[in-house]
Amino acid sequence: MDLRINSQADPSVQLVVLQGRLDTAGVDAVETRFAAATAGAGRDVLVDVAGVEILTSMGIRMLLSTARAMSGRHKRLVLFGARDLVRDVLDIAAIDSLVPHAADEAQARALLQG
């Protein structure tokens, strides 16, 4: 599991890129850094999950935990780019009310502004 943080000109939004498997092993590998890059950022966060090939309930748990921490600070977490199995899992898990997912980055930014 890989995590990258892309610094941007927009100071209000953090962009985080996840790649690999957000399963039990992936969560173990990335959870602390993900929390620091998201809940610790003090900004709204967009998470590019186009490179994530598996998302399990442990990954869902990590996303929910992070989004709740951010919500308490009036910040939001929005995913974009989910494909195939990851999109199916997000649809089944039905966490959109707290962790919405958009097709692409432009739509994700629109969700933040909405």
Partner: protein
Amino acid sequence: MRAGTDTETAYDHARVPVWEIETQAHRGALEAVQAALETFLEGQAVARPLRLRASLLVEEAFMNAVMHAVAGSADPLLRLRALLPPGELVLQLDDRGQPFEPEGAAARGAAADPAEGPLGGRGLLLMQRLAQHVARERLGEVNRLTLRLLRE
């Protein structure tokens, strides 16, 4: 951890490829189990999307057994089998833990409020929705979970 590949008589007497692994029921064993399963499936020309789906389902089943069925068990072993009858991928997970009746658990997972409900509890829901068929049996002292996936 012990693993093996074979064929056996099953499914209307057809001989089908079978892979099996027995491992300690702890979280640290899961990644190696998934890797071994995926290697077997790749060798059987199972398409990558189905291999990924199988790996996801195995994680949900394995972790559910580790966290709920065999916690405190005197025999904390899990046995996972993959069978490839024509047109299907069948996954079976056996444990010797407490009988587990998941009635309502998946429904609770589906209904959980993302903002305030429990963080976990969605594994059963994912199994129900991502497998074409899910069955649970109590065979003597063994809990058997069977997940069937269609091969397209």
